[in-house]
Amino acid sequence: MAAPISACPACDAAPLAEAQAGKGYGGNGMEAKRIMLSLPQIYCAACIAGVERGLAKQDGVRAARVNLTLKRAVVDVDPDIEAQTLADYLTGIGFEAYELDPGQLKATATDKHGKDLLMRLGVSGFAMMNVMLLSVAVWSGATDATRDLFHWISAGIAIPTVGFSSQVFFKSAWSALRVRRLNMDVPISLAILLALGMSIYETMHSGKHAYFDAALSLTFFLLAGRYLDYRTRAVARSAAEELAALEVPRALRVVDGQADEQVPVSELEPGQIVRVVPGSRVPVDGIVTGGESELDRSLLTGESLPVAASPDSIVSAGEVNLTGPLTVRVTAAGRDSSLHRMADLVAIAETARNRYTSLADKAAAVYAPVVHLLSFAAFLFWFWYSGDWRMSMNIAVATLIITCPCALGLAVPAVTTAASGRLFKQGMLLKSATAMERLAEVDHVVFDKTGTLTEGKPALDALARHKDRDLQVALALAEGSSHPLAQSLTQAARAAGVQPAEVAQVTEVPGKGIEGQWNGKTVRLGRAEWLGANAVGQTATYLSISGAKPVAFTFTDALRPGVEEAITALKAKGMGVTLISGDVPAAVADIAGRVGIEDWQADTLPEDKAEFVARLGKSGRKVLMVGDGLNDTAALAAAHVSISPASALEAARVVSDIVLLGKSMEPLAGAIDMSKSATRRIKENFAIAAGYNAIAIPVALMGFATPLAAALAMSTSSVTVSLNALRLKKG
């Protein structure tokens, strides 16, 4: 890998820190606690060593192991060690680290199912190779007793292997048959079982042809497809779980006469008091009992302007507290909070989408009955023609085997593995198995505004328009504050080289602004009402220098990088693009104009958004919804396919099919192209499989198929299909 060394400065320094890590710390006798840390930036051998050595040096750490594939570290520590301490330490030595909630990671931590599949795949692979060796001897001319001996040995290997490895198919076929449905596994199971049964019968009667190798290679190739499919989904699931696990849901509970205690949100009950510090998310629905502040509600409603909060204001879970600490009396927590109530809306919309039938299922629905009818017809015809049931059965089984469900079983997973791997590298995470096929059909894109097209972070307008004196005073006041407007102002002023004025006694008045003394005058930066200024119609903060008229600093939400490119590319493809937002018309019109969307709607409620998307869907459009907020979740679920950025609320990410991991929106258009070419490859693969069958079926029906021909047809079609899928990787 040709990554620049400087990207990981701590990697170079780490080996010096501790040349020899001896035997690890044995623990203090108490049961170990397992901590998981996310390490998004590690990529090299030195990073692994640096993290592991660094952790091993910490007090109370018993063992640390980095997993580079998952970019995660598993640390066994004494029970009294906090994960945050270790994460802070790692971040301090140059490896960005975040605490993960192990409860959210359960499914991928053990990965029992994956190992189980791999074990079955391995067993069938070894059995196939051995039986194939024996079969080659038979095909090259072994006769009589030797041939029978080889067949018996093959039977001895094949019977237990099929019993173990093919269970996957039998189980799935049985569960489909029980509800009177046909799936791909029904013809597969039937082919494997008939091939095995027929071969055992032939072996017992010293027959010439046995299909043990075919039964095993069928199992092997199909399990390979199954495993690929599973891996693709497991990677997506673990990344999705990691996003969820990064938000460890905790709250500060206020206890009378004691220090606040940190508790999981799930333990909160109505009536209890929680403290919400500036910069954190409100964990529950409730009523403010103390403190003054401003709340950012953009994730819930799409409004870009912060709203004031004071005692008796009602707050909802998911809002972000901006300026002052608040105490909140819980009215609803966890499942009952407004965050979770939205789930009902989502559930209704989801059922509509689950009706989507994947290409593989469509193919299976045609393939299974055709194959069964054909081989049954072959049996009837030959039995009527010759009266020899053994030969007729042989031909019927050969037809079943040679129709190659292997190629069909590999056709989809081979392509989706290649395509989703490539999308993942571009920063798009496919959560749903059929997301790619649905994305390929999209012809209309609906965007949310705040947090989706924009970064949800304000940027100062026209810095040069302001007087130097105003900027200097404003910078001095803003510097100490964590309010997003103040921070943005500081950043812009600093970048322009503005020096702060000498302002004394700077104090922040929660919910109002910042105050200080400059040249004997009182200066204030804050809300319009506080200063007695006339509010302008957009996001702004105001500066007053006593005696002078207040000045407004206006802000505009910065566009997410890549948005313009993405929208231009989408339009070039002839797709409809709509912007729909819960924000005020002026703000929406401004953004729509900047990115070049003519079709926009403002002041929409969550239900309106969902209905708009559903209506488009009913009129025959395939809608892609891109959104991040709680007010988008219903629309995300109602759309044909949906995308949310990684910064979205968990509720929105859960209902989305695809998560955009990076900051830029640019990969969007490319992803649609990619999914289109992937779908094309899948269809090509079906065509290849059908082409083989067009030659193989007549041969088998006429009774010319031998086990050798079956083995050749099966292997060549499987390999061709996989190679065709790999073409996608290159371009």
């Binding site: 060593a49 997993n67 067993v123 070894f126 030797t146």
Partner: protein
């Protein structure tokens, strides 16, 4: 054809050995971190002696 009497058991035994090795790799979680394993080989941390269990 007498050669088959010991050649076949040998081939089966070799196959079984390979299968046993595969089970061992699976059980010791050697497929959990393919990227990491590829990078770890570049580290000289355990060049002198293996880690104590």
């Amino acid at each position: 054809m007498n050669v088959l009497v010991y050649l076949i058991p040998i081939s089966l035994l070799l196959g079984a050995l390979g299968l046993a090795a595969f089970f061992w790799t699976l059980k010791t979680e050697q497929y959990d971190d393919p990227d990491g394993d590829g990078q770890r080989i570049l580290s000289d941390r355990w060049d002198d002696e293996p880690p104590e269990e």
